[in-house]
Symmetry: C2
Subunit: 119 residues, 2 copies
């Protein structure tokens, strides 16, 4: 049955919900990059770049490959799959006319009557 409710980690969203980090993710669409490149292209200072990359990595959004002096960061697919699964699980909810306020209104009305019937 499609009644499952996939869990979406708030931490993942939190990691993405910061402008610079979102820009990093967007930048890495085009392929892996080093810290320096990322900092340059986004106009970030190196330390801040490193910090944001750390947050993204800790939340499984990026992975690192150490190449001598450099650290090459690239996107991981897992969090996007998770997001996809989560969002998809809302599709049915949305279209299935669960907008049905009417039902809920009648429900509320029912409780009201019950109250006024019970002094």
């Amino acid at each position: 049955m499609p009644g499952n409710k996939p869990v979406m980690e708030v931490a993942t969203l939190s990691a993405l919900a910061e402008p610079n980090r979102m820009q990093i993710v967007e930048l890495l669409r085009d392929g892996p990059l080093t810290v320096g490149e990322i900092a340059d292209r986004l106009g970030l200072r190196q330390p801040q770049a490193s910090k944001h990359l750390k947050v993204l990595s800790e939340n499984g959004i990026l992975e690192v490959k150490a190449e001598a002096n450099r650290r090459i960061y690239k996107l991981r697919s897992e969090p996007f799959q998770a997001l996809d699964t989560w969002v998809k699980s809302f599709q049915s909810v949305m279209e299935s006319r669960f907008d049905n306020l009417e039902e809920y209104l009648r429900e509320l009305q029912g409780k009201e009557n019950k109250n006024q019937a019970n002094p």
Copy 2:
């Protein structure tokens, strides 16, 4: 061409990246609810519930319907569609073996050589 990069609003993610608000969203899967119901079921104080609902509304995640005394909140579909579009736009990136570190490594190597060739 599939080269478009849909914009994902950081504000939307930010709104969802808070545990109580995420719980509210999950709760509203099952249909619209009043502030009081939401507060009750999630063990929130009414003012905090109102505040979180305000944030979610301001970011287009929820909509309100005033019904006399009550305010009935329900999910909106737009942000979920936006999320879906955004996440989908990464699918190609992921599978298209853009993992190709190799390419980038050679690129880096190229620059190195260029440097050492230019005294």
